[in-house]
């Protein structure tokens, strides 16, 4: 394997560029859309670039937006590698954030570093619970995880609205007629420290460190090996003595945990309170979905997910400046994100062809790719 890697690393690097080509193609389609809107695409994309990378402040904003995408994306790397499709990132972020916020608002007489640590753990646990439930439902009751995670998203939104309008509401808002669903502000000592004099906070660093840890988890530990084995071939895994159901639960649980942490860092690093407009994206900013996009773009590899998250963070930040400069609603970038996803998954076929050709040239067995299919688990269930 090592020899192979050295012999054709050029060819492999070209493979890694496929998502980039696909993105360029999507941007091209986006440019045509902009022309229909009677906007100069160069000017629009220029404003987007300027807004995302133009100043150090802008770049810091990009990294701030990239942080939850990376954290959610890390969870996605784990679950999709385990052949479990977790679409519940939004709900898991919300529940993680709720639990973390509760910690931050309750233990106000404890030292800052301690409460921050506790709150991040609470976020992790909250997300793990919200991901673990669909995991158990899938492994032991054969409920399709796509459906259960979607349902869990809807439930989490209502839970959030219920708590932010009730038990956790900002006492100041409770007295006003407006009753904005938000909690009280966290104490200053509970804010995640900022890294440089911008809004960039410690969460970004935590996310990068975790990316490395997830890499180690997936490729250097037994747990990670088993998650991937179950994802690639549940049949063989079962015959090899792996408790498949347990690793399905673990994959969803960990996936949810990272999303929950993303939610906690949003509260403790960015808003310093939990606030929503009554919808999921009112709190998450859509990170639960966009994190999936980022992870896929990073080819479900934790380290590659870092630049991928920065790219999509940049798109989100740039969208705002594009709206200001050329009056294109930021919804355009949502549509563009969708196109990027479609183009990137569509480009897989060429990458796979290249890989096949290369491996047959090297006289090796076909390398299996991270499969994201339901049928494997379905067939796995038949064995049970």
């Amino acid at each position: 394997m090592k020899k192979l890697f050295q012999s054709d690393w050029v060819s492999r690097s070209i493979d890694a560029l496929f998502p980039v080509f696909a993105t360029l193609a999507a941007l091209l389609v986006g440019a045509i859309m902009l022309l229909f809107l009677k906007v100069n695409p160069l000017q629009a994309y220029g404003a987007l670039w300027q807004g995302a990378f133009g100043t150090s402040n802008a770049f810091a904003e990009t990294l701030v937006k990239a942080t939850p995408l990376l954290l959610v994306g890390l969870g996605i790397c784990i679950s999709f590698r385990g052949d479990v499709i977790n679409i519940g990132g939004e709900g898991q972020m919300i529940v993680g954030a709720l639990l973390a916020t509760w910690v931050g608002l309750t233990f106000t007489n404890l030292p800052g570093w301690f409460v921050i640590t506790l709150a991040m753990l609470a976020g992790f646990v909250g997300g793990a619970i919200w991901g673990g439930i669909p995991g158990v439902l899938k492994a032991y009751f054969r409920v399709n995880e796509i459906l259960s995670t979607v349902m869990m998203n809807a439930i989490a939104v209502q839970l959030m609205n219920f708590l932010l309008r009730g038990a956790l509401i900002d006492p100041a808002q409770a007295q006003r007629a407006s009753k904005i669903p938000q909690t009280a502000r966290l104490l200053e000592v509970f804010h995640l420290p900022r890294l440089i004099p911008t809004r960039l906070h410690l969460g970004a660093l935590i996310a990068v460190i975790l990316a490395i840890l997830v890499y180690i988890l997936l490729w250097r530990t037994t747990w990670g090996y088993r998650i991937r084995a179950v994802g690639q071939n549940p049949h063989a895994s079962r015959y090899a003595g792996i408790k498949v159901q347990r690793y399905v639960v673990l994959a969803l649980l960990l996936s949810g945990a990272f999303a929950g942490l993303a939610g906690a860092t949003q509260v403790f690093g960015v808003n310093y309170r939990m606030i929503t407009d009554g919808s999921a994206s009112g709190f998450t900013g859509g990170a639960g979905f966009n994190g999936i996009v980022a992870a896929l773009f990073g080819q479900l590899h934790p380290i590659w997910s870092i630049p991928a998250s920065i790219l999509f963070g940049a798109l989100l930040v740039g969208a705002n400046s594009m709206q200001r400069v050329v009056q294109v609603p930021s919804a355009f970038v949502t549509a563009l994100n969708g196109l990027v996803v479609v183009f990137v998954v569509s480009s897989e076929i060429w990458r796979q062809r290249r890989q096949r050709r290369r491996l047959s040239a090297a006289g090796q067995e076909e390398e299996s790719l991270p499969p994201v299919t339901i049928e494997k688990v379905e067939s796995m269930e038949k064995v049970q």
Partner: protein, 310 residues
């Protein structure tokens, strides 16, 4: 008060609005059933619905012609289906993920067009209720069954039609065989790609109508993200209904009736927090999935791209 819920007028109201609310789920879920029976999971339903809802609303708003609006929605849905078919059949892309891509595209695009072309929330005169002589006048029954608009009846009509097509026609046999064993179907001369194109485009068209039913028959407005997850629920209902139109009907009705009950709970000021009430249909759907799904097997080739062995 809780006891208000059990008065006859309220019960009639719950049943009538439950039947009405099932409309978008039925269109979208029946369309998705065709796709999944042929082996394709389309997670982009929500995006197709949103674009359909906008198209129908915009055309109705500018031309005043409701049918032209529905037709445009069907066309938009079909085009989204065509794109989805190309990506999943020809390029053999992962279906779940490309579906999310199409969802995001529809979500952003419908919002973008809404802001650029309309700018503010407007209303249209939606499809009128159909008056049945005598029947609509029957106390109770008339209110529940004979007091809806044409799109509502269309949705229910779709159930026996799709049952017939799937189970009693050659086309249905081909669809099912492609979903169960595409290799065998292919060797018997069934054009797998063509069948899948057909079902995915049909699914898109029906999702378009589902969106149109929201914006021109039930709510008569368009707002960004107005489907708020209904497309995903529709996909869930297909699993719920075990890939059979009648099962889908049962799921859609159950979900909508609980939803309708929930709305009435709020209308009547019953002291249950509205958030908890809104949550209930989702919680119950998960519970029902736990009880039912385990007995049924999905189409064997679901989410598997078809590639001819050379």
């Amino acid at each position: 008060m809780i006891s208000d819920l059990f008065s006859v007028t309220v019960l009639i109201g719950i049943l009538a609005s439950g039947i009405r609310l099932a409309t978008p789920y039925l269109y979208a879920a029946i369309g998705e059933t065709f796709g999944q029976r042929s082996g394709v999971l389309n997670l982009g339903v929500e995006g197709q619905m949103l674009l359909g809802a906008f198209a129908a609303f915009y055309v109705t708003h500018t031309t005043g012609n409701l049918w032209l609006g529905v037709l445009t929605a069907m066309l938009v849905g079909a085009l989204m289906g065509l794109a989805m078919a190309y990506v999943t059949v020809n390029l053999r892309a992962q279906q779940g993920i490309s579906g999310i891509g199409f969802y995001l595209f529809g979500l952003g695009m419908s919002d973008l067009l809404f802001q650029k072309l309309l700018g503010s929330v407007e209303t249209v005169q939606g499809f009128p209720k159909i008056y049945f002589p005598v029947l609509s006048k029957i106390p109770g029954i008339g209110e529940i069954f004979f007091n809806h608009n044409i799109l509502v009846y269309g949705a229910y009509l779709l159930v026996p039609i799709s049952w017939f097509v799937l189970n009693k026609t050659t086309l249905g046999l081909k669809i099912r065989s492609v979903g169960e064993n595409p290799d065998a179907a292919d060797s018997l001369g069934v054009n797998v790609a063509r069948i899948r194109y057909f079902t995915i485009i049909l699914g898109g068209t029906l999702s378009g109508i589902a969106g149109a039913s929201l914006s021109t028959a039930l709510l008569n407005v368009f707002q960004q993200n107005m489907t708020s997850g209904q497309g995903f629920i529709a996909v869930a209902l297909v699993y719920f209904g075990a890939w059979r139109p009648v099962g889908v009907l049962g799921g859609a009705l159950l979900f909508s009736l609980i939803n309708s009950l929930q709305l009435w709970v709020q209308v009547l000021n019953i002291p249950i927090p509205s958030e908890i009430a809104v949550m209930m249909p989702y919680v119950l759907t998960i519970l029902v999935l736990v009880v039912t799904v385990s007995r049924v097997r999905a189409p064997a080739a679901l989410t598997k791209p078809f590639e001819r062995e050379n």
